[in-house]
Subunit: 387 residues, 2 copies
Amino acid sequence: MQNQLVQSVTHRFYHAEPTGPETLLKLLVGLEAVDQGAECGQPSPNTPAGPRLGIGMDSCVIPLRHGGLSLVQTTDFFYPLVEDPYMMGRIACANVLSDLYAMGITECDNMLMLLSVSQKMSDKDRERVMPLMIRGFRDAAEEGGTSVTGGQTVVNPWIIIGGVASVVCQPNEFIMPDSAVPGDVLVLTKPLGTQVAVNAHQWIDLPDKWNKIKLVVSKEEVEQAYQEAMFSMATLNRTAAGLMHRFQAHAATDVTGFGLLGHARNLATTQRAEVAFVIHNLPIIAKMAAISKACGNLFNLLGGTSSETSGGLLVCLPREQAARFCAEVKGQGSGGGAWIIGIVEKGERGARIIDKPRIIEVPPRGTVAASQDNSSSASPAPNDTLS
Amino acid sequence: MQNQLVQSVTHRFYHAEPTGPETLLKLLVGLEAVDQGAECGQPSPNTPAGPRLGIGMDSCVIPLRHGGLSLVQTTDFFYPLVEDPYMMGRIACANVLSDLYAMGITECDNMLMLLSVSQKMSDKDRERVMPLMIRGFRDAAEEGGTSVTGGQTVVNPWIIIGGVASVVCQPNEFIMPDSAVPGDVLVLTKPLGTQVAVNAHQWIDLPDKWNKIKLVVSKEEVEQAYQEAMFSMATLNRTAAGLMHRFQAHAATDVTGFGLLGHARNLATTQRAEVAFVIHNLPIIAKMAAISKACGNLFNLLGGTSSETSGGLLVCLPREQAARFCAEVKGQGSGGGAWIIGIVEKGERGARIIDKPRIIEVPPRGTVAASQDNSSSASPAPNDTLS
C-alpha cells in the first residue's frame, strides 16, 4: 500500500526538479567562496588551541570555550535524485550524517532540516510528497540516534532537501583524518555507481538513451541496480564510524560529489605523513561498469570521478586490522558492505587508480545468489583482494 | 568606487531572483513539517533533563551530555531582496544571528553559509556578484564575533543566501523566552516597514504602481527609506541581546516573516504566566505608513503582519528597566534604535494592537534633523510613550 502511494506521487515529484546528481557537485571554482574542501575550511585564527582542520575535512571542528570540547558540524542540501520521496528523505539525512561518520563520530546532538517546496507542485502533490520526504528524513535521523528539532522551509522552483548535523564532542570521540601511514590499506564501505544507476534508470523511458546500453544490460537489471543504489544511499555509515575506533583507523572521508578518486585526493592532501593512496579495486553496483563502458566511460566511473550521493566511507586502516574491520561492517547487518580497495604508499599526498583496476561487481541485495553465479571471480574475500 | 561597482552589477543580480520578501514566510501550513514555530520545535523526549523549549522559539536549545551545557542553533535561508550584493550578504548573516540574539545570546561559536548560485547568471555576473555577497556575509559574521568555517553551495534557478549559527552555552548565557509577567513593557529595537520599503523601491520604475503612491511620497523619500531599511536589516541585534541580561529581560523574539503581531502572538503562547501583549505604538520607517495607507493598508503594515527581514528584537522587560534599556541600545551606537511599544497585561497568551496605534515615524539615518521637523510630535522619549 505504501508502495502504491509512493508510485502514484513520484512521477510528478520526479519532474518537479529537472536535475541530475551532477548538480551535487559543489560550485566553488571561480568564487571567493567559503574556503572549504568538501564542507569545511579553516577555523578563525583566534579560536582557542585545539585540533586544527584543513581543506578536505568533511565536518567543521570548532574548539569551544568549555573544557576541551569541540563542536563538530556539517551541512548538505541538494535536489531529489530518486523517485521515492520517502527514500529521498532518508538519503538526504544519511548524506548529511555521513560527514560526521567520516570523522569516526557516531553520535549527533541535533539535526536541522533544510527544505524547499517546489512552486511548480500542485497543492495536492505537495501535501502527498513533502510529508513522505520529511518522514524519511526524520526516520533516518532517528536511526542515527538524533532527532530533527528545527529547520527552515521556503518555496523554490526546485525541491531542496538537506540538513545540518551538529555534535559536541570530547577529543576521543572523533578521529582527525590526517594520520595515514605507508603500509595502511584503504577500505570502502559502499559500492560505487549510484550516479550511473540513477541515470540509467531514467533512460529506461528514453529510447535514444536506452539504445546505447540495451546490449549490455536488461531493464530488470537496471531496475535492480537502481533499487540497490537507492538502498545503499539511504544506508547510514554509522556502523563503520563506530568500528573506526575499534580498529584504529588513521583517516577517513566519505565519497560524494567528487567521486572516489576526488575524495581520495582530498584526503591525501590532509595527511601529515608523506603518503599516496593507490587504488587497485573498484567495487561497483553490478552492471554499472558495463553501462559506463558502453557509453564511452560514462561519468568517468572507471576513472573514479563519477559523483556519488551518500557514498561509503573511504577509511585508511592498519593492514592487520582491515580484514576484521570489513568482516565486522558486514556482520553487523546494517546494510553496508566493505571492500579493501587499495594501499597507502610513501608519496606526495596524491591518489591514483592503477591502470587496470579490478572491477568488483556488487550484486543488488536480494539477488545475491543469482549474481554471484555471474561474478564469483570478482567477489573476493576482503582479506585477499590485493593478493 | 565600490558603489559604482555595486551599481553596475546589481541590476542583473536583482533580476536573477524574481521574488519579494513575502517568500520569506515559512511554508509550514498543510505539511507534516518540522514542528517548529519560527525556527524550532521540541527536543526529542529522550534528551537529558534541561531547559525545555516550545513552539515559537527562535533557536533550538539542545541539552548536551556535557556538564550542563546546551547547544543553541538556528538556520535561515532565503532569496535576495535588496539590489546590493554586499549588503544582501550582511542582511542574511544578521538575520541568522538574530535568532541567537533573541535568546539573549551574544556569542556564536560557528557559522555555516548556505548558498546557491543562480543558473541564470552569466559567469561574469556570478564572479562579480557572489564574492560581494559572500564578503558581506563574512563581514557581518566577524562583527558578530564569529567566522564562517563551512557551508554548502549549489546551483539553483534563484540565488539563495543563508546560514546556520551555533553556540554551546552555559545556562546563564541564554534567556528562555517564557517569563513575561503583567506589568512588563514591550520594547522593539528596529523600526517596522522593511517589506513596504523594499517593494516601494521597486515601484519607482513601474509607473502603474508608482501612480498609486506618488501623492504621498517622493522618489527621494522612497530611496531614503529603502536605504534605511537596508541598513536596518544589516544591523546586528547583538547589542540589544547583551543588554537583555543587564536589564533582566523576561522574554524576547525577533521580528521576521510573520510581522510584529505574528511574532508577538508566537511569543505570547510560550509564556508561563497568563499574560497578553498589547501594542500601542508602531515605530515605522518614515513614510512607509503613508504608502501602506495609500494602497489600502499594503501588506497590512498597520495591522502588524507585514513581513520584516532581519527585524528588531521584541523584548519584554520590567517596566522600571525599559527606559534605560532603550537609552543604552541607542547610546551604544551600533545602529539600532529602541522604542517602548506596548505593555504586558494579564490575559490568555495572545497579542493585539490597539485600535488606533500611535505611528512613530522613524527618520532615515542621515536625515534625522530634517525628518524630526516633520514628525516631532511622533518621536516620543522612550519613557513617556505610553503616557
